[in-house]
């Protein structure tokens, strides 16, 4: 992979470089603008927002909106803020990400190192699950969850997210393991290692980069999901549903500064994951995971 990460050999003139930097910075501003708007307005009192300049810095700085969004804002009948829902999200996201990643890794392992007749078909069929619009599965999913007794529970949500996540995780791991020398698997077979031993001892320890990609992807998708959370969350609704309850109430007074603070709060974990592990994301894409 070292050959892949080298920089291009193209040389550019000085004027061109200035232009390039200029454009890159302009685009960076474009990408940052909405975040700036949210951030700046989340530290203003409400009166400054409804009457003032959206882009202006606050005249009065206040952290009250953040406090309110986190712990005192009215979400449903309880003035709890987003705090308790954060835990719900964690309880849902962690197992769902873990399971879908491990299942994806096992699938990728089988699909590349234990090929059998028709395996491409199996993979193709699984891959298509990445592309279906989730609205259409809502009703039949409800029936199935009801039959399984998982409706309205965290395990139910975990199941749903795992089911619609394994297409992606399998894709990632398959493309990653495809580049992993099959000879290693053969060597381990001769050494007497079995199917699972080879997986745990040989493949998994070197799956770090792609596992990070899979985790980032799954984490953001599941964390940000609203449709399934609202429909199958029951009494343990995730953060997005709470945020939606906070910002979408139809006939209540709208406290925009609290909304923005809540929105940023809800996005913090994913932003954190992206910024901390983002470099692996690009590297994972380079490992071929964009194909498909």
């Amino acid at each position: 992979m070292s050959a892949v990460t080298q920089d291009t050999a193209v040389s550019t003139g000085r004027a061109m470089r200035v232009l390039i930097y200029l454009l890159l910075v302009l685009f960076a501003l474009f990408y940052l603008l909405p975040l700036y708007v949210m951030g700046i307005n989340s530290v203003k009192p409400l009166s400054e927002i409804t009457g003032g300049n959206m882009m202006a810095l606050p005249q009065v700085w206040t952290l009250d909106p953040w406090r309110s969004a986190w712990s005192t804002a009215q979400i449903g009948v309880e003035p709890t803020g987003l705090k308790p829902y954060f835990l719900n999200s964690i309880l849902m996201v962690v197992p769902a990400v873990a399971i879908s990643t491990i299942v994806g890794a096992l699938n990728g392992y089988v699909l590349t190192k234990w090929r059998f007749r028709g395996d491409s078909w199996v993979f193709g069929l699984m891959l298509f699950s990445c592309f279906i619009p989730f609205q259409i599965v809502l009703i039949p999913m409800a029936v199935v969850l009801g039959k399984l007794g998982l409706a309205g529970s965290v395990p139910g949500l975990v199941l749903v997210h795992v089911v619609y996540g394994i297409g992606f995780t399998t894709l990632y791991f398959r493309n990653y393991y495809a580049a992993f020398p099959t000879e290693l698997v053969r060597a381990a077979q001769i050494d007497g290692a079995g199917f699972f031993q080879i997986f745990w001892r040989i493949l998994l320890p070197v799956s770090g980069p792609i596992a990070v990609v899979s985790v980032i992807w799954q984490f953001t998708n599941i964390w940000n999901d609203f449709l399934f959370g609202a429909s199958f969350g029951g009494t343990s609704q995730p953060m997005t549903v709470a945020l939606n309850n906070l910002v979408q109430s139809s006939t209540g007074v709208k406290e925009y500064n609290v909304h923005f603070a809540g929105a940023i709060l809800a996005a913090l974990p994913t932003l954190f994951v992206y910024i901390v592990a983002g470099r692996y994301f690009v590297r994972g894409l380079m490992a071929g995971s964009v194909k498909g």
Partner: protein, 370 residues
């Protein structure tokens, strides 16, 4: 019955048969090299011995036990791969003892075995490193160590040296040779480098397109190739194949070969049996080292023939000078002493060691003349 018997083994992928009725009996302690061009089925055969590929037809027996369908780990074999296939996440020591661990050998015994082998291969100081921190040659040694530590019945090597640079390749080759002479384990070794094949083996199986072309000692293969394929595959530069006609002179068969100017030149055969081909066209096979300058010619040979010809290209290669000329309408290469006084475009009196010449039937491509 041999130590490792490959009996009538065939292999098909779907409709395509890639190995056709391969039949080889390997004796205990033998060093068998499978050699042949890319895609001829060498790795496939090796993998079938290891149990990594299913057997379509025939059977493979190790120590008299038929192993078709037996799991690789139950065959008591060890294998060294072209890429070494070292586990990147384990240290050298862990790599080498992984197989023992999988076979339930207790830790003290493992450590003992590891220490012995590491000493033998002089890699004791590397045991705590990861494969990524090793040089190519060291990796190769570790891969061998991993195989050795298991003390298997049969060693399988799949092009173990082809990832090394030329220099290291020569060194490791000698080392493998020494190791075999010391341990006397049965080895099946795949390569497409014919120097490796010649120097290492006790016997060579030359393969092409899923068929074993010839099975024999290196000397048999080199001096009396069964057919044109074996003749040209083994040896570098390749054996010169020169269209010639058999002519009787003074009652002995000669090869009549045209030189660069088209003049026929007579080269007396050492094989009397060539008389049977009188008047017929044949292909004369002469290895480059058998066409040389008179000073470099083998003094022991009983049949050195003189062959004057014009030089096309000279390639001084340090130890030798390779000279290209036209013979029978084709390019032929001679290997001469480094400072042989030849120059492109000039004429020179070459010495041909006809004791080493062989002849082929152009139709069947089989060797003729006994």
């Amino acid at each position: 019955m041999g130590f490792l018997d490959i009996r009538n083994v065939t292999k098909s992928y779907g409709q395509v048969e890639v190995l056709h009725r391969v039949d080889i009996a390997v004796e205990e302690g033998e060093f068998l090299v499978l050699v042949g061009p890319s895609g001829c089925g060498k790795s496939t055969l090796l993998n079938m011995i290891a149990g990594l590929e299913g057997i379509t037809g025939g059977e493979i027996a190790i120590k008299g036990r038929v192993v078709n369908g037996v799991h690789p780990s139950k065959r008591n074999i060890a294998m060294v791969f072209q890429s070494y296939a070292l586990y990147p996440n384990m240290t050298v020591g862990q790599n080498m003892t992984f197989g023992l661990e999988m076979h339930g050998v207790p830790k003290p015994a493992r450590d003992r075995a590891l220490a012995d082998v590491a000493k033998l291969l002089q890699i004791d100081h590397l045991l705590d490193r990861k494969p990524g921190q090793l040089s190519g040659g060291q990796r190769q040694r570790v891969a061998m160590g991993r195989a050795l530590v298991r003390n298997p019945d049969v060693f399988l090597f799949d092009e173990p040296l082809s990832n090394l640079d030329a220099k290291l390749r020569v060194d490791m080759r000698t080392e493998i040779k020494k190791l075999h002479q010391k341990l006397k384990t049965t080895i099946v070794y795949v390569t497409h480098d014919q120097i490796e094949a010649m120097t290492l083996s006790t016997r060579i199986a030359v393969m092409n397109r899923g068929h074993v072309q010839q099975l024999g000692t290196p000397k048999e293969i080199y001096d009396t190739p069964a057919n044109l394929f074996v003749a040209t595959f083994m040896g570098s530069p390749a054996m010169n194949i020169i269209p010639a006609r058999v002519v009787m002179q003074d009652g002995v068969p000669h090869a009549s070969v045209t030189d660069a100017e088209g003049t026929p030149r007579m080269l007396r055969f050492s094989q009397a049996a060539m008389a049977a081909w009188e008047g017929k066209d044949i292909l004369l096979g002469i290895r480059p080292e058998a066409i040389t300058d008179p000073e470099g010619a083998d003094r022991k040979s009983g049949n050195i023939q003189s062959l004057p010809n014009r030089v096309t290209v000279t390639e001084p290669a340090g130890a030798d000078t390779f000279v290209t000329m036209t013979l029978g309408g084709r390019d032929a290469i001679a290997r001469m002493r480094a400072d042989a006084p030849v120059a492109a475009g000039e004429r020179y009196e070459f010495a041909v060691n006809m004791e080493k010449a062989v002849a082929f039937d152009p139709a069947t491509e089989l060797r003729i003349g006994g």
